[in-house]
Structure formats: structure tokens, C-alpha cells
Amino acid sequence: MSETGKASSSRGVEVAVMRSQLGRVRGLGAAKSGVHHWWGERVTGVALVPLSLWFVFAIIRLLGAPHAAVLDWMASPVTIVLMLCLVVATFHHMHLGLQVVVEDYVHTESLRFLLLLSIRGLTAVLALLAVVSVLRLGL
């Protein structure tokens, strides 16, 4: 392959390529990003390992518990902070994950745009609802 933006095989097939070799090496397309999404998914994933384990055990203990028991549980600053971490990490992780699912399977441009926008909005609203609820319960 040459620097002039042409790809050729040993048999002399030559195809014009609309992309510079430097652009190819840098790996940044029109989105100007990509690694950011990948890292976001991993970092939130790592955070969610201990957080979700903690939450599963907390929630199973609260199964069928009266309202006062939830207030008691949420009275601790540790619970509030862990819940907030859980909520933020969960909904960020969920946003990134669902985004990839839509990008992989939905090929109609208008529907894809609508779904990506809905996912962004929905995950943000759900996260805010959860954060405000946690603060209202605990503070």
C-alpha cells in the first residue's frame, strides 16, 4: 500500500481509497471518538461488580420489609453514597450498552436516531428519579 491513498495487491489490482493512511492509523473517523465509549463501558462495569453484589444482598434482606425498614436502611450515609454510585454507574452503563445494541441492529436511519435519543433521555430521567428518591429518603 502506498502513501498516495491507493491500495494495490501483488497482482496489480488498484483501488482508490478515500482515506489517508494517517487518518487510518489514528483510527478516528467522523465521530472523532470511540475509545471513550469503550472505556466508559469498562470503567462502569468494574465499579458495578462490588456495587451490584452489595445491592443484591441489601435488597433481598429488604424483601417484604415495612416502609420504616427502608427509611432505617437509607438513614446511613454509607447507604446513600453507595446507592448514588450504583445509580450513576448503572444508568451510564445501561446507556452505553443499549446504544451499541441499537447501533448494531437498527439500520433505518430515522428509527435509529429516534431510539438513540429515547435511550439517552430515558436513562437520564430514570437516573434522576432514582437519585432524587435516594436523597429524599436519606436526607
Binding site: 491500495a7 481509497v17 478515500m18 482515506r19 468494574v46 458495578l48 443484591v56 445501561m94 430514570l126 428518591s133
Partner: protein, 143 residues
Amino acid sequence: MPDIRDALLVARDSEGRLIRRPLSPHLQIYRPQITTVLSIFHRLTGIALSVGTLLFVWWLVAAATGPEAYARAQGFIGSPIGWLLLFGWTLALFYHLFAGMRHLAWDAGYGFQKHEYLRSGQAVVIATVVCTLLAWIVGLALR
């Protein structure tokens, strides 16, 4: 050619004519294997858990609204459908958790040998079942 990757798809057939290389066969041609099945389940459980967050947020909002709203949410969660959803939620969560940790190991460059990814796949399934049952046994015993 919009992209250099298209150039890599150009080849010649046995007659010497220029052709595009064939793409891999469609999904239904392949025999299901532990690698592919677990990969699909990782995505499916991710979607299921996303739907499950609706229940989680409902429960939290209800608890923050007051005892009556909380009792309503609790009534649903305490119903047979609620218990089933909750059990499914823990199962999906543990699966996604362990399969996700397997993915993180791959991201770090470990576990790509055939015997390694077969064994780690089996470990994910076993850990999911064991931890789901254990969580419920411990959780119910502590009530």
C-alpha cells in the same frame, strides 16, 4: 471505495476474474457453541436488566413518596409475578456480572486459549446458578 477495508475484500476467483471476497455465513448456519451462546446471553441479560431498572426505580420512587405508594409497589413485588421477576432479575444480574468479568479479563489480554475460554464459560454458568441460589438462601435466612 469509501474505505480501505473495502479494498481488502477484493480478490480473484480461480478463473482470475476480480471478485469481492465472500462474507461469513449467516448466524443460523453455525452450530451453537458455548462461546456464541454465552455472548448472546450477555447481551440479552443486559437488555433484560435494563427493563428491570424500571421496577427498581418504581420501588425507589414509591419508597420516597410515602408509605401508601410504597405499600402498592411492595404489593406487586410481593405477588407471585413480582417474586418471579425478582428471581429472574438476580439470575440475569449474576450472569451479566460473571460474563462481564470474563469480558474484562479478555480486555486485559487473558483467557484466549481454547481450553481457557471453554473453562471460563463453564465457570460463568456454574457461578451464576450457585450465586443466585446462595443469594436467595442467605437473603431469606436473614429475614
